[in-house]
């Protein structure tokens, strides 16, 4: 049983480490934008505004929208990183987050040691971490590179490791930013299979992406964010419109 339920959710980023006065003058003068001053007269960016949605078991939801629409902020809020300034958020289920693949990884440690470290981050013991490393080793397909410090890894290898780690912990809710597309075709096929298995149970996938092919292939529902608000929410075909031949042809073979 997994569930994400938001009601009137809002996140505001105060702009702290800037010259607030001049920035305020420059931007506020012109703005219908998302910058505003809050009750204490600070400048804040309204990153998410009044979001209400409910994502239930088995849904694979794509977050789409232009850069800066609030997709990653929403992922981080669901992950529990940001506390909303207004509204209510209820999460049921263990969360696995693939937002920044490098975070919490130590470049000087080997892949295997990093898996153990990640297990510690999740509150597991080192022994459980080593067991997990075996599982990750099987899926990531890094071979001997698993025992090499990860600072020598290519971007794709990092992605493999991070993806294998996050999904090996069998989260009920998987949050994903779009960087995982850096994997090669063979890995993408396996990842896709694993994700499919992951979401056939009572589980949720929430993915932020610009790649409409990914949306159509993997997702059942699509939420479009613009300027921190939801502008469309519904089945993929409804939000994106019918798949066009041109769009399909333009996509890379992956």
């Amino acid at each position: 049983m997994a569930l994400i339920e938001a009601a009137g959710l809002a996140i505001e980023f105060p702009l702290y480490h800037h010259n607030a006065r001049s920035l305020k003058q420059r931007i506020l003068a012109s703005s219908r934008l998302r910058l505003k001053t809050d009750a204490e007269n600070r400048i804040v960016v309204a990153a998410l505004r009044d979001l209400s949605f409910r994502i239930a078991d088995g849904e694979r939801v794509a977050l789409i929208g232009p850069n800066g629409a609030g997709k990653t902020t929403l992922l981080r809020t669901v992950a529990g990183v940001y506390e909303p300034v207004a509204g209510r958020l209820m999460i049921e289920g263990e969360i696995g987050s693939l937002i920044d693949p490098a975070a919490g990884m130590d470049p000087l440690l080997t892949g295997r040691e990093n898996v153990v470290l990640r297990a510690l981050y999740r509150g597991m013991t080192a022994a459980e971490g080593r067991a997990l490393a075996e599982e990750v080793a099987g899926f990531a397909g890094l071979g001997d590179f698993l025992d090499v410090p990860i600072r020598g890894y290519s971007a794709g290898m990092n992605v493999r490791l991070a993806f294998a780690m996050a999904t090996a912990m069998t989260p009920e809710i998987l949050l994903m930013d779009e960087w995982f597309l850096a994997g090669d075709a063979e890995f993408m096929a396996r990842a896709s299979e694993r994700l499919a298995r992951l979401v056939t149970g009572a589980q949720i996938l929430l993915i932020a992406t610009h790649d409409m092919a990914v949306v159509r292939k993997w997702c059942t529902r699509c939420i479009r964010l613009e300027g921190g608000r939801i502008t469309a929410d519904g089945p993929v075909a409804e939000v994106l419109g019918p798949e066009e031949e041109a769009e399909a042809a333009a996509m890379p073979a992956s």
Partner: protein
């Protein structure tokens, strides 16, 4: 993984339940001591990666510093080296622990920015990491005290046991200071340099290189300096004294104050940390 109850997380901005969350953070952070320990250890090993002596550079550089300063200042202060050097050894090593801990505290949250923005981790883990990292460093330096005492034949008595509560006090102070300074320094980026210069002043006013009795009738007022009071709870027992009631009371009050301040800030502003770093 064994089957588990589905965790439910509810956040309602109208009812933030801050104290409850802060307590849960503290409990979760302490429960993840294995993580804090692993991070603290790798902080040290990474610093000396590829060097032959490794972390024992810590020991060696302290020893060199003590040798140089010990003889010079004994000469300057016209004191007997056998009397001054053991005292300086204890002072300087304890000072290093305190000052390094405070310096680390100022960056403990900003340095963990990437992790803080990626996953919900109890913030107290970062404070625990500072304490454990400095405990590792101290463990490399404290044996020097034994060596110097042995060389100069300094007698040790039962008061030595009093150093244990003293060290515990330093650890608690370091943990609270890390939470407090970590947050304040994440929000106001001018604080770390201010703390840096204050610690430089503290080095000279806290009786690290000079002995408390040298200031004559000012001596009773020294415990008003928190650094002196806290340091003295370990130094005095090592030097065969107790430190006296005034020092302990002062140290306990200062640490109590730090803890109270850190807790108040932590409860109130914990939810803002992710926006600050």
């Amino acid at each position: 993984m064994p089957p588990h109850a589905v965790p439910v997380r509810l956040f309602d901005a109208a009812d933030p339940r801050r104290r409850e969350r802060a307590l849960a953070d503290l409990a979760g952070g302490l429960a993840r001591w294995r993580l804090a320990w692993a991070l603290a250890r790798s902080d040290i090993t990474h610093r000396y990666r590829g060097s032959v002596l490794g972390p024992f550079w810590l020991t060696l550089s302290t020893a060199v510093m003590l040798g140089a300063l010990g003889f010079l200042y004994a000469k300057l202060f016209r004191m007997d080296v056998t009397d001054y050097l053991p005292w300086l050894t204890v002072s300087l090593i304890l000072w290093n622990v305190l000052s390094q801990m405070v310096t680390d505290a100022t960056t403990c949250l900003t340095a963990a920015e990437a992790v803080i923005r990626q996953m919900p981790l109890p913030y107290s883990v970062h404070a625990l990491r500072v304490v454990l990292r400095n405990a590792v460093i101290a463990a490399h330096n404290l044996p020097l005290i034994g060596v110097v005492f042995l060389i100069f034949g300094v007698p040790v008595g039962w008061t030595l046991l009093l150093a244990i509560p003293g060290l515990a006090l330093i650890a608690i102070a370091g943990f609270a200071a890390s939470l407090f300074l970590g947050m304040v320094c994440a929000r106001f980026r001018d604080i770390p340099p201010i703390v840096g210069s204050l610690m430089q002043i503290a080095f000279f006013v806290s009786a690290v290189i000079w002995k408390p009795e040298m200031v004559g009738h000012w001596e009773p007022y020294l415990p008003l300096n928190p650094v002196f009071a806290v340091m003295e709870t370990v130094r005095a027992p090592l030097m065969g004294g107790t430190g006296g009631l005034a020092v302990w009371l002062a140290a306990l009050s200062w640490v109590g104050l730090t803890v109270a301040l850190a807790w108040a800030f932590f409860v109130r502003f914990r939810g803002r940390i992710a926006f600050w770093v």
